[in-house]
């Protein structure tokens, strides 16, 4: 279908609604946050309008640098684990019958109805020494005594992967369903074993989808602030945890806002870098 370029003001009308929504729910709150990040903290009340850069200056320390680095590494790991698990899973799912697919998708959707709190406490029970999964391993004779698997980095990572996995599958599903199954058959007739065909035909053919999914899960994981607190030690706390802490418990809105702005900027920069690298690769 050929689209005419818009000619007069009325042709732009369909843009009005999304523009309004973006302004009300994104531009305005984000602008307020940027403004607040330059305000001065008032220990007695909340904050007083001002223009100071103290909030950003305070942030530039080894401690916060470490937290930021940890947050980014954790988000990257969660994204990588989710895609590494969800991509083959979704691929195999799309090869199943309609019925099987529906059952799986309904189960995955029901996981989405669980809140982060419930997921956190469920995993903290599963990883506990008294009632956790290690008791099963002991019963099976694989371990000598039950062990607590939390708090720890592994527990944080598991919880966050669990939380993000349904989203990952749901984002990958449409692309994998539309993938022409004869591509894989063609690769097999040309001499590729099923595994090789999957790795050098299916994966590269869906490269853009995979990159988009990685970015989505990465951003999603950056915002997680409950699971690191429930399943991790203080050194596993992400920047989101500290932002929550400053905003809610320390009543230091300006500092929380500054951290949030900084996190958004870093995220945008990383996503932009990833897209640029991706474009360069596909051009080469």
């Amino acid at each position: 279908m050929r689209r005419e370029p818009p000619r007069n003001l009325a042709d732009y009308a369909p843009l009005a609604f999304p523009a309004l929504m973006l302004t009300v729910f994104f531009v305005v709150p984000f602008s307020i946050m940027i403004a607040v990040s330059f305000f001065r903290r008032d220990p007695a009340g909340f904050y007083t309008p001002d223009f100071v850069v103290d909030n950003y200056a305070r942030f530039l320390s080894v401690f916060f640098g470490g937290v930021l680095g940890f947050s980014l590494v954790l988000a990257v790991l969660v994204a990588a684990c989710c895609v590494a698990i969800a991509f083959p899973f979704t691929f195999l799912l799309t090869r199943c019958s309609r019925r099987v697919q529906t059952v799986w998708l309904v189960c995955l959707l029901s996981v989405l109805s669980l809140s982060e709190v419930i997921i956190g406490f469920a995993w903290s029970t599963l990883f506990s020494r008294t009632a956790g999964i290690t008791n099963l391993l002991v019963a099976a004779g694989l371990m000598e005594a039950p062990q607590a698997l939390l708090p720890g980095f592994g527990a944080v990572l598991t919880g966050m992967v669990y939380q993000a996995l349904p989203y990952t599958v749901l984002v990958l599903y449409p692309a994998l369903v539309r993938l022409d199954p004869t591509l894989l058959e063609a690769a097999r007739t040309l001499g590729a074993s099923p595994t090789r065909a999957f790795l050098n035909v299916v994966v590269p053919a869906l490269r853009n989808t995979i990159v988009a999914t990685l970015i989505m899960v990465f951003v999603f994981a950056l915002g997680s602030y409950l699971l690191p607190q429930i399943l991790g030690r203080p050194q596993h706390w992400t920047l989101s945890v500290l932002i929550t802490d400053q905003a809610i418990y320390q009543s230091n809105m300006p500092f929380a806002a500054a951290m949030a702005v900084f996190l958004v900027l870093i995220t945008l920069a990383l996503v932009g870098l990833m897209l640029m690298v991706g474009r360069k690769e596909s051009a080469a």
């Binding site: 004869t182 063609a186 007739t189 590729a192 590269p204 053919a205």
Partner: protein, 345 residues
């Protein structure tokens, strides 16, 4: 024996027999067309030869060894899919080199082979193009080149030309046939287009309801169809109910056809005569009389529709021997005995 043999090959999907006890011998270097209406099992048969489906029963034997248990990627066949299935993330050259890359052939050999094949399909200089930038006919050729890159033991094509427009399709049929003759590779093409089969094949295999109805050279299929199904499927034909009279002669509409006798022991049959073999003459001089209901003058041929005894008979003539008949006129329909074939239903 050198070549491909199918032995009692059967494929069941639940209770449905998609392919039913197919036996076929294809000598090395033969061009075979599997022909039939949709749902006749021809694609399933091809997929079993390729190893993409496992036969429920029977064996597929190539050059004397049973390849039924060999997985697809170890068969060294080349296959062209109906959707072409070119890899969208690779260039034309990379697509063609794929089977060589999978087998870790040296880079120089890959590059040389890609050049050879691009020359063969008249697309020299296209190696660096992304496949998305090609026209339908060019993609078609690339898919063919990719399937031939390895000098396959069998060259399989599943409705390869169905996505092309009529003119390009006819040109590609000729090209594909010439390519196959030059390379001498045993080739099996699935098609539902009988013109395509007639153009390309050494051996046409007509399938219906999962079974082979007739396997023979194209002209024999056309001239001596095995049954009414084959006669009707290959080209257009007139099918008339025939029965034997007391003297063993074949009769149509109760009148004997001069010089045509029924095969002994057969009381009823179907008489098949090609439209180009039907001659029209003055009323009362043919096998029976009819009325002209429609004349279609297509320039190269003239089709005359004659109604007789509730049936419509089509006669095709060239402009040179155009019958001098008008609409509504009574004519005699001449059935020449050597052009008539009597078939069982």
């Amino acid at each position: 024996m050198s070549g491909l043999s199918l032995k009692d090959v059967t494929k069941r999907f639940g209770d449905f027999k998609a392919v039913d006890t197919v036996n076929l011998d294809v000598p090395h270097g033969t061009f075979v067309c599997l022909l039939g209406p949709s749902g006749c099992g021809k694609t399933t048969l091809l997929r079993m030869i390729a190893g993409l489906e496992d036969p429920s029963e029977g064996a597929i034997v190539l050059d004397g060894s049973d390849i039924t248990p060999v997985p697809t990627h170890k068969r060294d066949f080349g296959m062209v899919f109906q959707s072409l299935a070119l890899f969208p993330h690779l260039t034309v050259g990379q697509n063609i080199a794929y089977p060589l890359r999978i087998r870790n052939r040296p880079r120089e050999e890959q590059a040389r082979r890609v050049d050879e094949l691009l020359k063969l399909i008249h697309l020299s200089g296209f190696a660096e193009r992304p496949v998305a930038k090609l026209s339908g006919g060019q993609r078609q050729r690339v898919a063919i080149a990719r399937a031939l890159a390895l000098s396959p033991r069998l060259f399989l094509l599943d409705e390869p030309l169905s996505a092309l427009d009529a003119k390009l399709r006819e040109a590609m049929q000729v090209e594909l046939r010439q390519l196959q003759q030059r390379l001498g590779v045993t080739t099996i093409v699935v098609t539902h287009d009988q013109r395509e089969a007639m153009t390309m094949a050494d051996l046409v295999v007509v399938m219906g309801e999962g079974r082979i109805r007739q396997a023979a050279p194209p002209i024999e299929i056309y001239r001596r169809p095995a049954d009414a199904f084959v006669a009707d499927f290959i080209g257009s034909t007139n099918l008339l109910e025939a029965s034997a009279d007391g003297a063993g002669r074949a009769t149509v509409f109760g009148r004997p056809v001069a010089g045509l006798s029924m095969p002994s022991g057969l009381a009823r049959a179907v008489l098949s005569i090609r439209p180009e073999d039907v001659r029209l003459a003055a009323a009362g001089t043919g096998a029976f009389d009819g009325t002209v209901t429609f004349v279609r003058d297509l320039g190269a041929t003239i089709e005359t529709f004659v109604e007789a005894g509730g049936e419509t008979i089509v006669a095709v003539a060239t402009p040179r021997d155009k019958p001098d008949v008008g609409l509504g006129q009574a004519v005699g329909v001449v059935l020449s005995p050597d052009a008539c074939v009597l078939l069982t239903r």
